[in-house]
């Protein structure tokens, strides 16, 4: 295997200034191979989204080393090549689309920013088709779309510059359960089709289990355990916090909990 697509070493992120400066991510290491789908899981406030935000430069106050596609990152500035290579899908599709711009405008603006001038019309039609939206949606405004349709538009925007890496910040947590499944399947299909690398943040172990090959479990700004999804499915977690997460996931879906499940499996 060649060099990893995303490599993060000793990442520390700070919020606030002066006396109120707080370390919220405490030196995490993470490595995502090309074409891999990697999950970051943890409860609210564990710093998982912050890692994504530091990666793309939305959070500026960080230490450590981050490489994407071999390119070293620093501060908040990112190169043009980075923006083309790495795209992000946000959590809330109601907030991530400009309320006064048609879908056409959103996508053509994105293409223009990446310097793509040829065949813009055909490209927009193809992008909408790729995310399962017909041409009838092209000139609508976001408020005329449902949540799932908006998230599809956000995914189309992320695909516009033909990226290698998609950062998914809880892409389905604002959607209904039935729509969640559609969006997750769409994301899986797109990864297979374009050979994308995913770094996905979620608090939902079910979503991560469906989408990812490997999982890192975060708690209060630290990665407590990294494991293969297969191992997670077999409930072979070492760290008590991971077991706690698995336990509550099982209980909330009507099962008995980790201990009972393991007893009945053996």
């Amino acid at each position: 295997m060649s060099q990893p697509e995303i490599q993060i070493e000793g990442l520390e992120v700070f919020f606030g200034e002066g006396h109120e400066r707080n370390r919220v991510v405490h030196g995490i290491d993470l490595s995502v191979a090309q074409g891999e789908s990697y999950g970051l899981v943890g409860e609210s406030g564990s710093g998982k989204s912050t890692v994504l935000r530091a990666l793309v430069g939305l959070v500026t106050d960080w230490h450590g080393a981050m490489h994407v596609g071999g390119e070293a990152l620093s501060g908040a500035k990112r190169s043009k090549a980075f923006y083309r290579r790495v795209q992000m899908v946000f959590q809330d599709p109601y907030a991530s689309l400009h309320p006064r711009q048609t879908i056409d405008r959103v996508l053509s603006e994105t293409l223009a920013l990446h310097g793509i001038k040829d065949g813009v019309d055909a490209r927009i039609d193809r992008l909408l088709e790729q995310v399962g939206l017909g041409g009838g949606f092209r000139f609508r405004y976001p408020h005329q779309l449902s949540g799932g349709q908006r998230q599809r538009v956000a995914i189309a925007r992320a695909l516009a510059p033909e990226p290698k890496v998609l950062l998914l910040d809880e892409p389905t947590s604002a959607l209904d359960v039935s729509v969640q499944a559609e969006i997750l399947n769409l994301l899986s299909d797109l990864r297979a089709e374009f050979g994308l690398t995913y770094l996905m943040v979620s608090h939902d172990l079910g979503v991560i289990g469906h989408m990812c090959d490997r999982v890192a479990v975060m708690q209060t700004g630290e990665i407590v355990e990294t494991l293969e999804v297969e191992a997670m499915r077999r409930l072979q977690a070492e760290h008590p916090y991971t077991r706690h997460l698995l336990d509550s996931a099982l209980r909330s879906s009507g099962h008995e909990g980790v201990e009972a499940a393991q007893r009945s499996a053996s």
């Binding site: 793309v56 939305l58 990112r78 043009k80 923006y83 083309r84 795209q87 992000m88 946000f90 959590q91 809330d92 907030a95 991530s96 689309l97 400009h98 309320p99 006064r100 711009q101 048609t102 056409d104 405008r105 603006e109 994105t110 920013l113 990446h114 009838g136 949606f137 000139f139 609508r140 405004y141 976001p142 408020h143 005329q144 956000a154 925007r157 510059p161």
Partner: protein, 310 residues
């Protein structure tokens, strides 16, 4: 601002405008405008304001055709005649000039002042407010303290000072009013920008590599403009009154120009015995101010970004 061609729409055109699945950029834009127009005119008071304003604009445009007399010709033999006297609808002023004709020509001056101020002041406020709001930090501090200094002076007093420095006249009155009117717009634009700049759609466009200039002008401005347009229409009355006030104090339009404020000022001396000389231009100012206020109210319902899209 909204085209009147929409009103005489044929059924086919109407269906095209109300289509759920527009087929082109132009259609999407026209449909958005048309729906705004329908919403605006569904408010009866706003429609009344639009009608009054349209009449005033038409009166200003066709003043030479509608006027019964030359607004500048004096007839000292027929001074201070009451309304209806020998074809003078609204009577004559202290120099025997026809008030009705002067009112028509005065509408041109008022509308000219309002349009110029309404272009200059909000644009200045928009640029300063969005810049301060988007960049934050010391840029914000410097720009907002300058804004505070301007806000600290009473508006008419500051306008008086500017006119006194620049010299009396309509152009200088416009400039003075614009220079005193921009701070509230800057405040509004800054507040809007503060709520917008940390939203995901601005983050998303930043992650496409867009620079601050592009983000401010193409993504922040469109969202600020609606609240500014509302504020401008509501402020129009104030602008007209300030212009009239400057005219009244003799620092705006100069005699014999038929500016409404100056007309009131001239009529003030005779207000007890010859009430119409001051009252009729006063009613005109009242009508145009009320029309703008009614339109502003309706526009707020149509444009308020907090209401739109829900």
């Amino acid at each position: 601002m909204t085209s009147h061609t929409h009103t005489d729409a044929k059924p086919g055109l109407k269906a095209w405008l109300l289509s759920d699945t527009p087929q082109s950029r132009g259609q999407a834009r026209a449909a958005a405008w048309y729906q705004g127009w329908l919403k605006l005119t569904s408010n009866k008071l706003t429609s009344l304001g639009l009608i009054v304003l349209t009449l005033l604009v038409l009166a200003a445009i066709f003043a030479p055709l509608l006027a019964t007399n030359d607004p500048f010709v004096q007839d000292l033999g027929a001074r201070l005649k009451p309304p209806g006297w020998e074809g003078h609808f609204f009577g004559t002023d202290s120099l025997g000039r026809d008030i009705y004709s002067r009112l028509l020509y005065g509408a041109r001056i008022s509308i000219y002042i309002v349009l110029l101020v309404a272009l200059v002041a909000p644009l200045l406020g928009l640029i300063i407010g969005t810049t301060a709001g988007y960049f934050g930090g010391w840029v914000d501090t410097v720009l907002m303290r300058v804004t505070d200094i301007f806000l600290a002076f009473p508006r008419l007093i500051l306008a008086l000072a500017f006119v006194a420095a620049l010299g009396a006249g309509i152009e200088n009155a416009v400039l003075a009013i614009s220079l005193t009117a921009w701070p509230p717009y800057a405040r509004i634009a800054r507040a809007e920008t503060l709520t917008i700049r940390n939203s995901d759609f601005i983050h998303a466009i930043r992650l496409q590599g867009a620079g601050p200039l592009r983000i401010i002008t193409r993504h922040v401005w469109p969202l600020c403009i609606s609240s500014l347009v509302i504020r401008v229409t509501l402020d129009m009355a104030g602008i007209i009154l300030t212009a009239a006030g400057l005219g009244f104090l003799g620092l705006g339009a100069q005699p014999p120009s038929p500016e409404w404020g100056a007309m009131i000022s001239e009529g003030r001396k005779y207000i007890l015995d010859y009430w119409w000389v001051a009252t009729i231009p006063g009613l005109a100012i009242f009508a145009i101010s009320l029309a703008f206020n009614l339109i502003g109210d309706g526009l707020r319902d149509v444009l308020d970004p907090k209401e739109a899209g829900k």
